[in-house]
């Protein structure tokens, strides 16, 4: 079992390397982290936080957009591509379970994502600490951001596999992935904010809104990092809500979502008839 999962992972890694996905993912993360850390290096004395914590707060807002995007870009082809190339029937006649195939792909794609995240955050941290050695105090926040980013990425990789299995065509899977990214990462928050404004402190704001934030993996990720670091509540539009939701709830959402999305992916893949 383990050997078969690793075999798939190694093969997927070869493919990703040749398709330049590793390069694209790493370059995206590094470039955006560089821009943010340069912006974050501006004087921040008034906030009373170390510079790295400030950079981490900016990186959190960046990662909420970028990590799901990179994860979906890597994963949308996983099943639909095999179906369209005609490689899936042969693969499924091999003594390998469908979940083992997905697990192998997940392993490879997550590894690439980890490399990209480490490269991006590493560059940002190196620059910040070089500019101000006192910033090492923020390393804890950076570490928290790193592992939650990996979990967020795994969640969206799983969602990408599920969409890929449902669409069965690469073009359809790409469309679904972009639509889902826009919906969960961009429009979801806008919709919630609009509803909160319209509701003006009523039932929606007190009961539905926190649950709605926790139900979205991207929002849970942002909440957890902002609440935990308590650095810059003002850095985010949903920051105000962060204070009212206990840390353990957003942590739970972050931990559960990868399992849910991978279970969905496995279910959707099982329904694919070659």
């Amino acid at each position: 079992m383990i050997a078969r999962i690793f075999a798939t992972a190694v093969t997927e890694a070869h493919i990703a390397r040749r398709n330049r996905w590793v390069l694209i993912a790493v370059a995206l993360m590094v470039v955006f982290s560089l821009v943010l850390s340069a912006a974050g290096s501006a004087p921040t004395g008034a906030l009373g936080a170390d510079r790295l914590s400030v950079v981490v707060a900016s990186l959190t807002s960046l990662s909420v957009y970028l990590v799901p995007l990179v994860a979906l870009l890597m994963s949308f082809d996983a099943v639909a591509g095999e179906v369209e190339r005609g490689t899936l029937p042969l693969l499924l006649t091999y003594p390998v379970a469908r979940w083992e195939v997905l697990a192998g792909k997940l392993l490879a794609h997550t590894a690439i994502l980890i490399v990209a995240i480490l490269a991006g955050y590493g560059v940002a941290a190196a620059i910040t600490i070089a500019a101000d050695p006192a910033a090492v105090a923020g390393l804890g926040a950076l570490w928290r951001l790193t592992w939650t980013s990996v979990l967020l990425g795994a969640t969206f990789i799983g969602i990408g596999y599920a969409l890929s299995s449902l669409a069965r065509r690469v073009s359809g899977a790409a469309g679904l992935a972009i639509g889902l990214w826009l919906g969960l990462v961009v429009l979801y928050d806008l919709g919630l904010l609009a509803a909160v404004v319209a509701d003006d402190g009523g039932f929606f704001t007190t009961d539905v809104f926190p649950a709605a934030l926790l139900a979205n993996p991207a929002d849970a990720f942002r909440l957890f990092n902002l609440t935990a670091s308590q650095a810059t509540a003002a850095a985010s539009g949903v920051g105000g809500a962060a204070a009212t939701i206990p840390l353990w709830q957003s942590l739970l959402s972050i931990l559960i979502w990868p399992l849910v999305s991978l279970a969905l992916a496995a279910l959707a893949f099982r329904k694919v008839e070659p």
């Binding site: 690793f6 029937p89 042969l90 006649t93 003594p95």
Partner: protein
């Protein structure tokens, strides 16, 4: 010895359209069986059911003593137009398949050499020709020691020399006890290289047996081409009332049973005949006879 593959009364429909109806067959260890049929006759569907890729609607199947898809380590498959990820090299692709089958990957290069791809092993599959991709497909079907090989048009895209090499590989596998079920359009090569033919038409098994058996069952007429000595053709036509004039000669069809008697009558007139050609029904004729019998 028990059969490697047994199918009885298999039925499969796609949205009300019957792709396979009441198909029964058995393949013994060491037997090479060819599956013939026109496009859409159900060959690929039958293979996919055997492989467990699609579930049948009715009937029973036993593959290496298990349900389809449950004995995958003993079954090898070569899909029609075998496709692979173009970014991988031939060696990487074969290595991957060997790992999935739990075979030692040290044999990957040897396997590629066996199908004549050793020189291109480290090139990406996107640079391969169709015939080379087909050989990657063959190579993966040879991994391990499968007891049943299901090959969907294995020789398409191969040149005549490669085809001969391929059938020699199959002979070796069959001699070791592997069962082979292959589909093909190339009737003449299948005739010489398989033990038994199955003809599918419109989802039904319309004929089954060795070529001589099918020939007998079809009872197609033998045709004879007689070239008469100048001026004697009317005499010959009088003696053989069934003969017709065709392309300047005389053409005659007769049944298998009447063949010798007819030949005797012709040889009795040998001073009037310059040449005689006897044409037995070709494999194509037999094949069309069976596959068109149901009004296809």
């Amino acid at each position: 010895m028990t059969s490697t593959l047994t199918i009885s009364h298999l039925t499969k429909a796609f949205g009300g359209v019957k792709a396979l109806s009441d198909v029964s067959l058995a393949v013994e260890p060491g037997e090479r069986v060819a599956l013939l049929g026109h496009n859409g006759a159900g060959k690929s569907t039958l293979m996919k059911v055997i492989l467990g890729l699609i579930a049948p609607d009715g009937g029973e199947i036993s593959v290496c003593g298990a349900a389809p898809g449950k004995a995958r380590s003993q079954v090898a498959y070569l899909p029609e137009n075998a496709a692979f990820h173009s970014a991988l090299t031939g060696l990487e692709q074969i290595t991957y398949y060997m790992r999935l089958r739990g075979e030692a990957v040290s044999g990957a290069m040897e396997l590629l050499d066996r199908v004549g791809l050793g020189h291109a092993a480290k090139r990406r599959i996107c640079t391969y020709s169709k015939g080379m991709r087909q050989r990657v497909g063959l190579a993966q079907a040879l991994i391990g020691h499968p007891r049943l090989l299901v090959l969907d048009e294995p020789t398409s895209g191969l040149d005549p020399v490669s085809r001969r090499d391929f059938y020699e590989l199959l002979d070796g596998l069959a001699a070791d006890g592997a069962s082979i079920l292959l589909s093909s359009h190339a009737l003449t090569e299948v005739e010489a290289r398989t033990d038994r033919l199955l003809i599918l038409s419109g989802g039904r098994m319309v004929a089954e047996g060795s070529l001589p058996e099918l020939r007998r069952e079809a009872a197609l007429p033998v045709s004879m081409q007689i070239t008469a000595l100048n001026g004697y053709d009317t005499d010959i036509m009088a003696a053989l009332p069934d003969a017709i004039r065709l392309n300047g000669g005389l053409h005659l069809n007769c049944t298998q049973e009447d063949k010798l008697a007819t030949l005797a009558r012709i040889s009795a007139m040998q001073e009037k005949v310059t040449d005689l050609e006897v044409i037995p029904p070709s494999l194509e004729d037999i094949y069309s006879h069976f596959s068109r019998r149901d009004g296809q």
